[in-house]
């Protein structure tokens, strides 16, 4: 029972970390750019919200498979293609949870407005300096929301993982897949324990996020 929990936590943690690192610059660009095509990029980022997970999983399976260019590259680099590995489900989760991390961060950056950035520039802060010493700290509530949503969303992922990760115990078998297995095998007791655990976890996450957001928001107002 502990294997799926450990894999799920590890997956969610790594996915969130990657998304904060690559999602924050994307969110910044989406918030600040005046390029006419930026809403197109925003739509691509938001696509996983509406796309059925099986559709996404199917395309990922093809894109990452051993016959694809990406698959050939990963085979050369790591000796194998990504589907049915832990790295594969990380890639899937990063794409699948991306909108849940980027959107709140983008909103937080947009809420800062032009003025604090102009002030920083008149105080000799370079654009990069301004980003780290003014924009990021002021966007803290959004970063927090993004991280929590990204983590929670990855924990609850099912379809994409089943498509590209399969159901390999100790490698790609996460909680949601384990619950499905238990139900299939009519092990209702096990399914109850894991499901109730996830229910409570989700409630606590959402509640603490709301409380923290309120607190942070008040402090920055």
């Amino acid at each position: 029972m502990w294997d799926p929990i450990w894999i799920t936590v590890k997956l969610a943690f790594i996915t969130t970390l990657i998304l904060l690192i690559i999602g924050t610059p994307i969110a910044w660009w989406l918030a600040r750019s005046k390029a006419w095509w930026k809403e197109g990029v925003a739509a691509i980022v938001a696509l996983p919200i509406v796309l059925p997970p099986t559709v996404m999983g199917f395309y990922l399976l093809i894109a990452l498979g051993p016959d694809s260019p990406i698959g050939q590259l990963t085979t050369q680099l790591f000796g194998r293609a990504l589907p049915f590995t832990f790295a594969g489900i990380v890639v899937g989760s990063v794409i699948y949870s991306m909108p849940f991390v980027i959107q709140p961060i983008r909103n937080a950056f947009e809420a800062i407005g032009e003025r604090p950035l102009e002030v920083a520039a008149t105080l000799r802060a370079s654009p990069l300096d301004t980003f780290f010493s003014v924009a990021l700290p002021l966007a803290r509530p959004g970063l927090l929301t993004g991280a929590v949503l990204g983590f929670a969303h990855t924990v609850g992922e099912f379809g994409v993982i089943l498509m590209i990760g399969g159901n390999i115990p100790g490698e790609t078998k996460v909680l949601s897949v384990a619950i499905y297995d238990h139900v299939e095998a009519l092990e209702w007791g096990q399914a109850h324990i894991l499901s109730a655990g996830l229910l409570i976890f989700s409630f606590i996450v959402i509640l603490s996020m709301m409380v923290m957001e309120k607190k942070l928001g008040r402090r920055l107002k």
Binding site: P116, E118, V119, A121, R124, A125, P137, L138, R219
Partner: protein, 374 residues
């Protein structure tokens, strides 16, 4: 490099082009020291000019040199964060995630160039910030926030201080509280200060020079007293038109409590004790408080009856007329100039003309404190 150098050691600025469908064509030069008010009606382009000086906005065509260094020309545009300017916005815009002290030193830590170095302690004393340091930026009054923003800008070691209507967002009470600080601060500064304003009172109080703008153009610039007493400008047409004169306390009479002040070309008597002998002040004379006479009136209760010469007559709407008068024309050196506002009927009746010697009776004089260049 020759092109880097400029003959003047002050500020030379030229901006033209359009920004957000607003046409601007402004050109001016300023001395290397002193406080200049960028004055005009709202929407005349004064804030745009200030933003161009800072590098926050860029015009299609622009030239800017400060103390011989070119900041902008056809080929070059030094970005904002590399310009040694201090900028104070209309709203204090303190960083919400930093303490008062961290706000103050934000720019100090990033100083570039060789602007005036001011220590943190000095700023804290000058702006009265001691008791604010430990407070949260969210628990400050408007005036306190603006004082911190001004201190923050100055600590960045600017070679030029720019302020965009720094007092406009404040209520009367906060304004009265902050003006003495500004006054004191400006006097100690060795760098040029340019502030945008549409409030005459503020300008009379703080500025040495004035750039008057109208519809995206500079219509007049020069020492404050000269611009304010130019009878042809639109600011001379309003109901509250006044002129300023920088004076020095000469004598105070204990018996009837009258202070006599002297200035270029004459003396004025003002009720009350204005300050110790030798102290410098700025006074303001409302054009409506001046009446004129061809002969020296022998019987009048008005204390200040001054011989003047008519320099200019400018007819206004509504049957009124502005006269520019020169004091002290009989002495070797020309003295102060000020405006008188009378009716066109009086003008005809007494047949005043340019070049004529007449007497001005000044009914009241008000103190504006002010920042005098010594």
């Amino acid at each position: 490099m020759m092109s880097e150098m400029n003959s003047t050691d002050g500020i030379v600025a030229r901006f033209s082009g359009s920004l957000d469908s607003f046409d601007l064509s402004a050109e001016f030069t300023l001395p290397r020291k002193g406080v200049t008010a960028l004055f005009g009606r709202s929407g005349c382009g004064k804030t745009t000019v200030l933003r161009c000086l800072a590098g926050l906005s860029q015009m299609e065509q622009g030239f800017l040199s400060v103390k011989g260094h070119v900041w902008q020309d056809e080929r070059k545009f030094i970005p904002i964060h590399k310009r040694p300017v201090g900028f104070v916005f209309q709203e204090a815009s303190l960083f919400a995630h930093l303490s008062v002290k961290d706000n103050l030193v934000f720019g100090q830590k990033r100083t570039v160039g060789n602007g005036q170095v001011i220590e943190l302690d000095e700023i804290i004393t000058l702006l009265g910030l001691e008791h604010l340091l430990s407070r949260s930026v969210h628990k400050l009054s408007g005036g306190e926030r603006q004082r911190i923003a001004i201190g923050r800008a100055l600590l960045s070691g600017p070679e030029l201080l720019l302020m965009d209507e720094p007092l406009a967002g404040l209520d009367k009470f906060s304004k009265d509280e902050i003006i003495p600080y500004l006054d004191r601060l400006f006097k100690g500064l060795d760098i040029p200060v340019i502030f945008v304003s549409h409030d005459t009172e503020e300008v009379e109080r703080l500025a040495d020079n004035m750039i008057l703008m109208d519809q995206g153009k500079v219509v007049a610039m020069g020492p404050l007293s000269e611009v304010l007493s130019n009878p042809t400008l639109y600011i001379a047409k309003g109901p509250k038109t006044s002129s300023v004169i920088d004076v020095e306390v000469a004598v105070f009479s204990e018996i009837d409590r009258i202070t006599e002040v002297k200035f270029d070309g004459g003396v004025l008597q003002i009720p009350g004790q204005l300050g110790r002998v030798g102290s410098k002040h700025r006074i303001s004379i409302a054009a409506n408080d001046v009446s004129l006479a061809r002969e020296k009136p022998s019987e009048t209760t008005i204390l200040n009856v001054i011989p003047t010469k008519v320099l200019h007559i400018h007819l206004l709407d509504g049957g009124r007329v502005n006269l520019l008068l020169l004091i002290g024309h009989q002495s070797k050196k020309d003295g102060a100039k000020f405006l008188a506002r009378i009716t066109q009927r009086s003008l005809r009746k007494f047949d005043f003309s340019v070049g004529q010697d007449i007497y001005a009776q000044i009914k009241s004089v008000s103190m504006v404190g002010g920042s005098q260049t010594v």
